[in-house]
């Protein structure tokens, strides 16, 4: 297999993997809005009014990112948006860790207060950094297989065909 083809395959796996992450996390959050609200509130960063907005919008933003990545539409922009969201998530977990809160990140459901010895901040940050690497790959090299982007792209044409 030529090098470009291998890179395409790696990129495709990154895209579908990241899509799966968003679809799973978004679905779990969307079906339990009260739990999502409690998870967002536990970070103790936002005022109550803003907590409910974030808790309402976040699940659907995650689902939208999942769908865009799954069908490969606007891969680079979707990956960039995903990276921004992930950086915000990591910042949220790190501030909770630094302030000595004992919460679950609520990344894939759950969330809220947990016993001080039941926190898993290190694992949560590492996992998000892993997802960030997938997004990073797609930002640098968005070309992947089975993507709608590929169909929309104007292919290089023979010079004779232009005008």
């Amino acid at each position: 297999m030529e090098r470009g083809r291998i890179l395409d395959v790696i990129g495709t796996l990154a895209r579908l993997g990241l899509a799966a992450v968003w679809l799973v996390s978004g679905t779990i959050k969307a079906v339990d809005p009260d739990q999502t609200y409690i998870a967002v509130r536990a970070y103790d960063v936002l005022p109550t009014g803003v907590v409910s907005v974030v808790a309402t919008v976040l699940p659907f933003l995650e689902l939208a990112l999942g769908v865009l990545l799954l069908i490969g539409l606007g891969t680079r922009a979707a990956a960039a948006l995903a990276a921004v969201v992930l950086v915000v998530f990591i910042a949220g977990v790190v501030q909770a860790w630094a302030r000595g809160l004992s919460i679950d990140c609520g990344c894939f459901g759950g969330g809220g207060q947990v016993a001080p010895d039941a926190t898993a901040y290190g694992t949560e940050v590492l996992r998000d950094v892993g997802f960030l690497l997938l997004a990073g790959w797609l930002i640098v090299r968005p070309h992947t297989l089975f993507a709608l982007d590929g169909r929309l792209e104007s292919r290089p044409v023979r010079s004779g065909e232009r005008n």
């Binding site: 509130r41 409910s52 939208a64 606007g74 207060q113 929309l152 290089p156 010079s159």
Partner: protein, 251 residues
């Protein structure tokens, strides 16, 4: 600008000439049609998220409570005694889901109370006392809320206890902080401070909590938890976001 970018342009032009010589027209720089569509779709997602957020914020206009409040034992009854619908709320001031219930429905409940459509019995329950260090914030807060009735500030104080709800497994709020919260809201009666720090309703709250835990009509999956909400003595499903509309409509 200047030299560097111009030489970059020259390099690209030269490259394009070579490609043209090979019979290939390179893609134009700048977003092609497909890329533009993709960018528009992603931008649309961001905009839609923003619009939803905007409406969520603007749909919550705060209603000013102007209903009557009376305490009987450890139960605070809000609204007119002859209101057609009776709602019972079993709540613990440390419980996150109770805060969620309050933040999600308090405006609708206040409107219904103001309009005389419902009355609400707020049952002081304290099941989460062990979850603060020192233990006992749930009872202390429930006691303070009962003190807020004669102080004439119950609706605002009830709201404030949730707005500033401490986290589970934290220290909770101290009696002094609970006193100050009431002073800020206009508690002027002389015994407000003594009532809150004295925690004199504690024993009655413990009894009421035990009674609630033992009442099978209040249990969900064989356990009592907070919040538990009853409409005309029938427990409602908290996942039903239309519970209040349906209650008022008599469904």
């Amino acid at each position: 600008m200047g030299g560097a970018s111009r030489s970059e342009k020259n390099r690209k032009q030269a490259a394009n000439h070579r490609l043209a010589a090979a019979g290939i027209t390179p893609k134009q720089s700048g977003p092609s049609g497909g890329t533009r569509i993709a960018l528009i779709v992603v931008a649309a997602v961001v905009v839609v998220a923003g619009v939803i957020g905007y409406f969520v914020i603007h749909n919550r206009q705060s209603t000013t409570p102007n209903y009557a409040v009376a305490a009987s034992g450890t139960v605070v009854t809000a609204g007119k005694a002859d209101a057609p619908v009776t709602v019972d709320v079993y709540e613990d001031y440390l419980c996150p889901v109770c805060e969620r219930f309050e933040s999600r429905y308090s405006d609708d409940v206040t409107t219904a109370l103001n309009d005389g459509k419902i009355k609400v019995n707020y049952h002081s329950t304290a099941i989460l006392d062990p979850l603060t260090t020192p233990a006992g914030y749930s009872t202390l807060a429930a006691n303070a809320a009962l003190c807020a009735v004669p102080a004439g500030i119950w609706p605002a104080y009830h709201k404030a206890l949730y707005a500033d709800q401490p986290a589970e497994k934290s220290a909770g709020l101290t009696a002094a902080q609970l006193v100050q919260k009431g002073v800020d809201l206009g508690a002027k009666n002389a015994d407000w401070s003594t009532c809150v720090t004295g925690n004199s309703n504690a024993a009655a709250i413990t009894e009421a909590t035990k009674a609630a835990i033992g009442n099978t009509a209040l249990q969900t999956n064989g356990r009592f938890g907070t919040p538990t909400i009853l409409v005309n003595d029938a427990k409602i499903d908290l996942n039903d976001s239309k519970w209040l509309e349906n209650a008022i409509a008599g469904k």
